[in-house]
């Protein structure tokens, strides 16, 4: 009996706790009533549903797009397209969610437009680089791994990024070239085609037998294992220069063997020309040596010298 009494006495203290909670947040609180209405619940449900459906839809689109670009586009371009689609998808979800939440989008988009103009002015260079990046990728002038030359800077394309192209030079330096600069410059893609011509400009002395020089050069090209038989080598007399006769000789090599071919051909030409007695022309000046001959005197010259100018003596 005593135990029962104790419990009965303790009961009012336990029951008093909820009443304190509702003292702090009362059931008839105006804010609470405004927040947790049926309309609010519907809006929240709509937002959650929109976000969920948006993520599922965008996810599906991205997955399909990724498969398509993997098959049909190169890795760099495909990655860029997928990334743009992702950003657009997220923007689409954000707008849909805000619309579902009942936010006035026209005001928001207006503000975003003004902010966009301000940011656009501030980030003009970055935007230019970004847009130039699209042209570089779409033109397909070069791709990762190609060797290019941009205004005298040459190297291997290390990466093509949204804002710049990074080159690894042959002395192993990394050079960043903004996409805008690339669009404005003359870009030479050295490794685009399977073959490349070695152009040799040779200046020989005027006593050279040009036919013999031509024959020697063609023999050298034929003996070089890396030189291509087709297309055939090109020989041309470029013209007569101050110091000698200018010859042009072009030999085709596989692009990846051009470097070795360049060395082999130059060494072979020097060696063979020395053997054949064909001399390379150096800047020269021809000086003729002879006796000085007195100029013939005119008949009236002596008289004029003896008497001087007639008008001067007054006679």
């Amino acid at each position: 009996m005593q135990a029962t009494t104790t419990l009965a006495e303790a009961a009012p203290e336990v029951a008093s706790a909820p009443s304190r909670f509702w003292e702090i947040i009362p059931l008839d609180n105006a804010i609470f009533e405004q927040l947790f209405t049926v309309d609010t619940a519907i809006t929240v449900a709509r937002v959650v549903l929109t976000a969920a459906l948006g993520f599922i839809f965008v996810g599906l689109v991205i997955t399909v797009l990724r498969k398509v670009v993997t098959k049909r586009m190169e890795a760099r371009s495909g990655g860029l397209v997928v990334k743009i689609a992702q950003y657009l998808g997220f923007a689409f979800i954000a707008i849909s969610v805000l619309d579902a939440a009942g936010v006035n989008l026209s005001a928001l988009l207006g503000a975003a437009g003004i902010a966009g103009i301000a940011i656009g002015f501030a980030a003009q260079t970055s935007v230019s680089n970004f847009i130039s990046g699209f042209f570089i990728v779409s033109e397909k002038t070069f791709s990762q791994g190609d060797v290019i030359d941009v205004d005298g800077t040459s190297g291997l394309v290390h990466s093509i990024d949204a804002m710049s192209v990074k080159l690894r030079t042959f002395d192993n330096r990394l050079i960043r070239i903004p996409n805008e600069t690339l669009i404005k410059s003359n870009v030479k893609t050295i490794t685009r085609f399977p073959i490349r011509r070695l152009n040799m400009d040779i200046l020989v002395t005027y006593d050279t037998d040009i036919e013999r020089a031509r024959q020697v050069l063609l023999e050298l090209a034929a003996a070089e294992p890396n030189a291509l038989r087709s297309p055939e080598p090109v020989f041309m007399v470029s013209g007569f220069r101050d110091s000698g006769i200018a010859l042009f000789f072009g030999v085709w090599f596989a692009t990846n063997e051009w470097f070795d071919g360049n060395n082999a051909m130059h060494i072979a030409v020097k060696k063979r020309f020395d053997e054949e007695g064909i001399r390379f022309a150096l800047p020269t000046r021809t000086v003729y040596q002879g006796k000085a001959v007195a100029a013939p005197k005119k008949p009236g010259a002596r008289r004029a010298a003896a008497g001087g100018p007639r008008g001067n003596n007054g006679s």
Partner: protein, 258 residues
């Protein structure tokens, strides 16, 4: 003497020399620890003219060296070059519109050394020159060969058929265009072909070249009847569908010379 066969390691005989045409393939064995190392090198014809061969030491870079592991022998086998071969015909000819010509062309092989079926070295049997087949934009770098075209049912009339350094290719050339086409170069992809025959006469599967106004297409031409008693001396480097890939090339047009 049979050349294309399996050979045991020359452990106690110094350097073994295989003579193929005017080339010599030298094979020797070196010991590294308790392992055998096979060393191989090819000698150019001018090096073979003297009465005595002056070979570099086995540590020289001229030798191709490889560990034999547990293998006790190596195989000397004919092989196609590692790149396509462009055969320039010594006497080019025109093919009338709609016509088909059957015949034989010949290409140079290489001597390869295989250990446990894997190719570990391959030596050209002549100085390997190169050329471009196709257009300068999209052509392919090929091994250059200049041989004759034999318009005959059998290649017996050609001395090249009995030459150990050549393999004969039966070909069918068809002009599918409305204009005559000059046939001067033919390109073959050795990786798609096998070599069958015996010690002296070797041949591949039949090839089909179809010329059109835009270019040329090359492919295997169905099944080929092989000579009786012939054996497979080299298998194709590719298998399955890759063997039947049809290669297409633009016909070479005269390019601007400067």
């Amino acid at each position: 003497m049979e050349t294309w066969k399996r050979w045991n390691l020359p452990k106690n005989e110094g350097t073994r020399v295989h003579r193929i045409g005017d080339r010599r393939i030298c094979v020797a064995v070196d010991m590294v620890g308790d392992q055998y190392v096979l060393a191989a090198m090819a000698l150019p014809p001018e090096a073979s003219r003297g009465s005595r061969l002056a070979l570099p030491s086995l540590s020289d870079k001229a030798w191709t060296r490889f560990f034999m592991d547990k293998a006790e022998d190596y195989e000397l086998a004919p092989a196609y070059p590692p790149m396509p071969t462009c055969i320039r015909l010594k006497q080019p000819f025109s093919l009338a519109p709609g016509s088909t010509v059957e015949g034989w062309i010949f290409s140079r092989i290489e001597a390869s050394i295989l250990v446990n079926g894997a190719r570990i070295a391959s030596f050209p049997l002549a100085t390997p020159y190169k050329t471009l087949y196709g257009s300068p934009e999209a052509g392919v770098i090929c091994r250059y060969d200049e041989e004759e075209f034999l318009a005959a049912a059998e290649p017996l009339a050609s001395s090249l058929h009995a030459d150990q350094r050549f393999v004969a290719h039966p070909v069918r050339l068809r002009n599918a265009s409305a204009e005559p086409v000059e046939v001067s170069d033919l390109c073959i992809y050795g990786e798609q072909l096998s070599i069958v025959g015996d010690e002296k006469t070797m041949q591949s599967e039949r090839l089909l070249f179809v010329f059109s106004s835009s270019g040329v297409r090359m492919s295997l031409d169905g099944t080929t009847l092989l000579p009786l008693g012939s054996r497979v001396m080299a298998k194709p480097a590719v298998s399955g569908e890759e063997r039947f890939i049809v290669r297409s090339f633009e016909l070479f047009k005269n390019m601007t010379r400067i």
